[in-house]
């Protein structure tokens, strides 16, 4: 029997597959992340900050801030990592709740599994939201137990959850939020906890501690947690040690709130860092160092549509259907066995085949995966159009070559100082085609709070080959005058973005946000959102205020310059054209808006808005020809496809907006 290929595809899905090459099978572990959020529930964790008049002041108890974080993280992960798991475990509660599948014969008093470790379900999000938003609901559950929980027990509870729910996830992490820096009652309890923490380490689970310092007491890791937490991750011992997060201060009213700082600290750990590749960087013959590549920038897309089982004849619960595939003969008569599949190229009406070992050689004749420096050039020799895809971030690794970090650092600093780049021959994987890339140094960027926004390292920017470069389109260029340029310069200078940089964090993706907003409200059976605050829409009022005058001035100059040029054309042909042009663009004082859009209008140009509004009043839009409707819609940049009814409706809708 031919085997379904679903499993295989799932393994390779995180690969950045540029070409149609087969991705390397990266061992057996699924490249997925499972996070169990463990939140301490105790008297001090439930204590609210003293009331304050300051708007920015904290209103959340540490526990409720942690729950809010978890709520936010859960929604965020559904968008950004739709296949990753998350669970929420409260500890120290009076109540105990634990799934029997996980528990075996064990019992875990005062551990309350709020959401089992799994890909979140809409009901998990709802439950969490009710805890966050409904104080009564929260008060019912968030009752601290009298005797508290033993840490060893909690850690073993986490152990069991990870073992059963996410047995072969390559990244498994326990997020621990607590303000108790010494939860062990005695040496024995501490030793037990240390042992259980070691179990987690051996299991491949990382403990990420998010300590909250109690007012006036602080949080001393050395008392307890330094014996439990390991610096390197067991699955990726080579990953540079994460920067230890600063202890949160729960103070009232001064600046950044507990919630905000907890969110930012958790966000920085939200996605486990995964290397895309580990490669030698060859500086010259016989000089290689080790580097790892990371995908820091990548377009986040909405989930693709999928198949849903509607509940069958008995009206059961709707379910996501898993799609498996099987190769069949094209007449669907029978399944094809894998050994009978062969790759062939079309050539001259026939299929040209190669034995499998030759298929490999076609691609692999360029040598092993490597980043090899060919030489150096000033960054100015990298034209702005020379881009093909998203760059990859690289950072040194000592795993294969000791001394990589210092050599990499020297290279990065030298290139930064002299504004140079390296040109490299780059083969990312065994089957990948070679690419020529620019290796450009990147500096560390810090945010307002001194936190890292962009890491220091180097960026691999794949360059186009001559095959990838298109010619400029043919144009008949009409050149500007110095005066006109000067007027436009005023405009440009007035409208700089804040801090004179493009800061991606200011611009959430409106399409993606809207998609998930709708999907979420459908999933949670909420009311549909009305509108989305789209931060990518330019600030029109400000543009008018700051640059309006200059644009108007430029517009007038443009009109007269254009008129002058038209006048200067003396022959009859030019005159003829002039009248046509005039008609098309229309003299528009103060306003350079041309009424012409998508369809090139000839003598029969599109109707004006005013005219169309009159038609609408008399209900005559319906009587217009398709051609006329299309022209009008086209000139407004609207869709011109569809039946007449659609076009009429579109015109009417548009007219309502003006």
């Amino acid at each position: 029997m031919a085997e379904p290929t679903d499993e295989k595809r799932r393994h390779g899905e995180e690969e950045e597959d540029d070409d149609e090459e087969e991705a390397d099978e990266s061992g057996y572990k699924t490249v997925k992340d499972a996070v169990l959020f463990a939140i301490d529930v105790s008297d001090s964790m439930l204590r609210r900050p003293p009331p304050s008049d300051d708007k920015k002041a904290d209103r959340d108890s540490p526990t409720s801030a942690a729950l809010k974080c978890a709520y936010q993280l859960m929604q965020q992960r559904i968008i950004s990592h739709p296949k990753d798991m998350m669970g929420i475990l409260l500890f120290g509660t009076e109540d105990t709740r634990f799934d029997e599948i996980n528990s075996g014969d064990q019992s875990y008093p005062h551990c309350y599994l709020l959401a089992d470790l799994d890909v979140p379900e809409a009901s998990d999000v709802k439950r969490l939201r009710s805890l966050v938003e409904d104080e009564e609901e929260a008060a019912k559950l968030l009752v601290p137990a009298k005797e508290g929980v033993t840490m060893a027990n909690l850690l073993f509870c986490a152990n069991q959850i990870f073992t059963t729910r996410a047995p072969n996830f390559s990244s498994r992490r326990l997020f621990l939020v607590t303000d108790n820096d010494n939860p062990a009652a005695d040496k024995g309890a501490k030793d037990n906890a240390i042992t259980r923490a070691r179990d987690l380490y051996d299991l491949g689970v990382i403990i990420e501690l998010f300590p909250i310092s109690k007012p006036g007491v602080g949080f001393d890791r050395a008392k307890f947690y330094d014996d439990l937490v390991y610096s390197a991750s067991p699955s990726d011992p080579d990953a540079p040690a994460p920067i230890s997060s600063a202890t949160k201060v729960s103070s009232s009213g001064d600046g950044i709130s507990l919630l905000q700082s907890l969110i930012s600290s958790i966000n920085s750990k939200a996605a486990p860092r995964r290397a895309l590749f580990s490669l030698p960087l060859e500086l010259g013959p016989d000089l290689r160092i080790g580097v790892k590549g990371y995908v820091i920038i990548k377009r986040q897309a909405a989930v693709k549509s999928c198949y849903i089982w509607m509940g069958g004849e008995n009206g059961e619960k709707k379910q996501l259907a898993v799609v498996n595939t099987m190769p069949m003969t094209d007449d669907s008569v029978r399944a094809v066995e894998k050994v009978d599949l062969v790759k062939a190229y079309k050539f001259g009406g026939e299929a040209v085949t190669f034995p499998p070992e030759q298929i490999k050689l076609i691609r692999q004749c360029f040598g092993d995966p490597i980043i090899r420096i060919i030489g150096f050039k000033p960054v100015s020799m990298l034209p702005i159009w020379a881009n093909t895809r998203t760059p990859t971030f690289i950072y040194p690794s000592e795993a294969d070559y000791i001394g990589s970090t210092r050599v990499f650092s020297a290279l990065q600093q030298k290139l930064l100082k002299d504004n140079k780049m390296a040109l490299v021959w780059y083969i990312a994987r065994k089957n990948a085609g070679p690419v020529i890339a620019a290796l450009v140094p990147g500096v560390e960027r810090l945010g307002e709070g001194g936190e890292q926004v962009m890491p220091p390292g180097m960026w691999l920017i794949p360059l186009p080959f001559v095959d990838d470069i298109r010619d400029n389109p043919d144009i008949s260029l009409v050149k500007t005058t110095d005066d006109l340029t000067d007027l436009m310069r005023n405009v440009v200078q007035q409208l700089q973005l804040p801090k004179a940089i493009y800061d991606p964090s200011r611009y959430p993706n409106p399409g993606l946000q809207w998609f998930y907003r709708i999907l979420q409200s459908l999933a949670l059976e909420e009311d549909m959102p009305e509108k989305l605050e789209d931060k990518t829409v330019p600030k029109y009022r400000q543009i008018d205020k700051r640059a309006g005058e200059f644009v108007v001035e430029w517009g007038q100059a443009l009109e007269s310059e254009h008129a002058l040029r038209l006048k200067n054309r003396s022959n009859a042909a030019a005159l003829k054209r002039e009248s046509a042009t005039d008609k098309l663009s229309g003299p528009l004082p103060k306003r350079i808006k041309t009424e012409r859009g998508a369809t090139p209008a000839g003598e029969d140009e599109a109707d004006s808005d005013e005219k169309m509004l009159r038609f609408r009043k008399t209900g005559a839009v319906r009587t217009l020809t398709m051609d006329r409707l299309r022209k009008y819609l086209g000139s407004r940049g609207l869709g011109t496809k569809g039946k007449k009814g659609d076009l009429v409706q579109r015109v009417e809708e548009y007219l309502e907006t003006i």
Partner: protein, 739 residues
């Protein structure tokens, strides 16, 4: 649509072409055919129906010109039409290969062949009314002119020249060992006859405005890949605005169009087929097929059948984790996954997920050029120009481009290509060339697109106590910094190349780099078509690997700097074995440095594998001992856990846990250099599964073991293994059914 083409190749196959000259290792004909096949297979590869090729043999043994439309063969002796003008298929290639062999004749007139070619083209490119159709017409004459030929009198020659010109035919002359001063080739000891004919043909070519090249140059040119020109297609036409023209009179609007500027060329793709087996031969005797056994038949489509992918659907059985049931497609509808929750959205309702956008290119603001980080460029690039034929728009855009250029600024804009398309953010950069002005654009990341990965600084070391160190083994010493600086300067490419005039220029400019993979696949497929039985693949042409290493001259000159850098950097490769010698390796410690293993060994119960905590207890048991018996017990214990997981699993619910145990056991036994212990277990597991001893049919578990590649530890993985790679592969096969 590309133009229709009609090209006739005239190939000299005279007796003398079968000889080798000037110490070359191939005959003149083989040499000439190198050029010919390159051109022909390239044409075949395009698959274009309108790319017609005809072939005429010159100095053939017989005569046949009737296929060219020449009625009277008188004067066309020893000229044979080998292929009429048509789209060339692989079968034609094979036929031509058989025909293009040296003849026994040295007779045959090249000019007559050209006339035959003219006739052939004229007949084939005429419309029904007899009028010539729109065609690109071309004659390529490949000859060594070592035969006999009577130069025509000049009247006749003039008639031919004017006919060629009148028909708009391009004449290309490729001469074997023809003198070419431009290319720098001169044949010594050239016979007077050859010199005369050579001159005569060159003059003919020259007179009708044709192209001449000596064969050496033409063959050299083969390696320079042809790049495909793509017609520019607009990806947006609409307005570039600043401000809101609907609301403010002060808004700027310019009509623009947008075209691709870079676009990654992909290699041609292979399609998947299946090998048709002869049902009569399906008795086990014919196990492999012609494709591997006899590549000569590999290009025979009759043995291959098309493949399509059949989908089938499964859902989880309610209340039973791991149990799956098949469902028919008619019980399915489209929708989306919100986490684990299925959200049904009918296809017709999908619009509610879309933002209500109108097409626009709307400027958000400006940033200084030097504050822009180049790594934010996410995509291929486009170029934006003014609407075609709109002079005012062109003037307006020109002033905008120059203003950006003069203020050294870029614009950031919100872009929606079409109605209801999700907006993107673009960077707009000015591009000014002598006769061209435009805006280059590419996409910038949104907030969601930047991952928050943190890395330590490279120029300082921050300690736990928040102290900043400037000296550390991870930080370069001043010596290393100097050595690096000297090396980088020495390896400068900005002036290492030479331009056409011999002046120093940039080395490796982008327009001299060819996509290795695109042209490699192209090369090999064409090579296979003309060499169906060859075993060894040819190497990629040097032009594709030219930039895979630093230029030798520069590397040589920079050797002292490199050596100094190596000395200062003191990089050492980690020996590959060291990582796996676990017995001597120290176990990791928590942040405090506490020796947890000591603590563990104080707990005697930790010496056995705990079924509810199997993996950690297994690892810890192994860590406490060197005793092989303890290893054996631990492996046996963990094996029991695996069997119990499988036996008690509902569907595949516990397979994951079992797999993880198997993986850990395999990893640990590899590191402890005891592969036999693991391999013994795996044999037993396989036996139990196929014997049905683990709670019924668990063959799907075996499939998982196989898919996850946790097979026998072979000699490649561990030198201590007695299992060969071959045996490890064989092991995957199910056991033979009991006799």
């Amino acid at each position: 649509m590309a133009d229709k083409e009609a090209t006739v190749y005239i190939v000299d196959v005279g007796r003398s072409m079968g000889k080798k000259h000037h110490g070359r290792d191939k005959t003149d004909l083989d040499w000439a055919l190198q050029y010919f096949w390159d051109k022909v297979t390239s044409a075949v590869m395009t698959g274009r129906k309108t790319l017609n090729i005809g072939v005429i043999g010159l100095r053939t043994d017989g005569t046949n010109v009737s296929d060219a439309g020449v009625n009277d063969p008188e004067g066309y002796e020893n000229i044979t039409v080998l292929q009429t003008l048509k789209q060339t298929m692989l079968s034609d290639v094979r036929e031509l290969q058989a025909k293009l062999v040296p003849s026994a004749s040295d007779e045959g007139d090249a000019i007559s062949a050209v006339v035959a070619a003219i006739t052939m083209i004229a007949n084939a490119t005429r419309g029904k009314t007899g009028k010539p159709l729109q065609y690109k017409r071309k004659i390529v004459l490949i000859t060594s002119s070592l035969g006999s030929m009577d130069p025509e009198d000049s009247d006749q020659l003039d008639a031919i020249v004017s006919k060629i010109k009148e028909d708009g035919i391009q004449l290309v002359l490729i001469g074997v060992d023809f003198d070419d001063t431009e290319f720098g080739f001169k044949e010594e000891d050239k016979s007077d006859e050859k010199a005369e004919i050579e001159e005569y043909l060159k003059k003919l070519t020259d007179d009708c405005g044709g192209v001449f090249a000596t064969l050496a140059e033409a063959v050299e040119g083969i390696d320079t890949p042809e790049t495909k020109k793509t017609r520019p297609v607009k990806s947006y036409q609409g307005t570039l605005t600043l401000g809101n023209p609907e609301k403010y009179d002060s808004a700027m609007t310019i009509n623009v169009e947008r075209y691709p500027r870079t676009s990654i060329a992909r290699p041609i793709t292979a399609k998947t087929w299946f090998i048709k087996r002869d049902p009569a031969a399906e008795d086990g005797t014919q196990s492999t097929h012609t494709v591997t056994e006899d590549p000569g038949d590999g290009s025979n489509e009759e043995t291959l059948g098309g493949v399509k992918t059949q989908r089938f659907f499964q859902i989880e059985k309610e209340g039973e984790t791991g149990a799956k049931i098949d469902v028919p497609q008619d019980q399915l509808e489209s929708g989306y996954a919100y986490g684990r929750t299925a959200v049904h959205i009918a296809e017709s309702d999908r619009v509610i997920l879309e933002l209500d956008t109108l097409p626009s290119l709307d400027i958000i603001g400006f940033i200084p050029e030097d504050k822009f980080e180049r790594y934010l460029a996410m995509t291929k690039t486009n170029v934006i120009v003014a609407q075609k034929g709109n002079d005012k728009a062109s003037l307006a855009l020109s002033s905008f481009i120059h203003a950006l250029y003069e203020t050294a600024s870029y614009a950031v804009a919100r872009f929606a290509a079409k109605e209801r398309k999700n907006p993107l953010i673009l960077l707009l950069a000015p591009l000014i060339e002598p006769d061209f002005e435009g805006l280059i654009d590419f996409e910038l990341p949104f907030a969601e697109d930047v991952r928050d990965y943190k890395f330590p600084p490279l120029d300082k070391k921050v300690t736990v106590a928040d102290k900043s160190l400037t000296q550390h083994r991870d930080l370069p010493t001043p010596e290393l910094m100097d050595a690096m600086s000297a090396y980088v300067d020495a390896m400068d490419l900005s002036t290492f190349g030479t331009d056409d005039d011999g002046n120093s220029a940039e080395y490796m400019p982008m327009d001299e780099t060819y996509s290795p993979l695109v042209h490699r696949v192209h090369q090999i497929v064409r090579w296979r078509a003309t060499n169906p039985t060859a075993e060894e693949l040819p190497d990629p042409p040097p032009i594709l690997t030219k930039y895979s290493t630093p230029p030798a001259e520069l590397a040589e000159a920079s050797k002292p700097q490199l050596e100094a850098l190596m000395l200062a950097g003191d990089v050492k490769k980690v020996p590959p074995k060291q990582a796996s010698r676990k017995r001597t390796r120290e176990r990791e410690k928590p942040l405090s440095g506490l020796n947890v293993d000591e603590l563990l060994s104080a707990h005697p119960k930790r010496a056995r594998v705990d079924p509810i905590n199997p993996i950690p207890s297994f690892k810890q048991t192994l860590a406490t001992t060197d005793n092989i018996d303890t290893f054996k017990t631990a492996v046996a214990d963990l094996a029991k856990v695996v069997y119990s997981y499988i036996t008690n699993s509902v569907g595949d619910a516990r397979y994951g846990q079992a797999l993880e145990c198997i993986r850990v056991m395999r990893e640990e036994m590899t590191e402890l250099e005891e592969p036999a212990l693991f391999n013994g277990f795996l044999h037993e597991l396989k036996r139990k599964i196929f014997a049905g001893e683990l709670g019924g049919n668990r063959r799907d578990m075996w499939m998982k073991v196989r898919m996850n590649r946790v097979g026998l530890i072979d000699q490649k993985l561990s030198p201590f293994s007695e299992v060969t790679e071959e045996a490890a592969r064989e092991f995957w096969k199910p056991p033979p059914p009991p006799a």
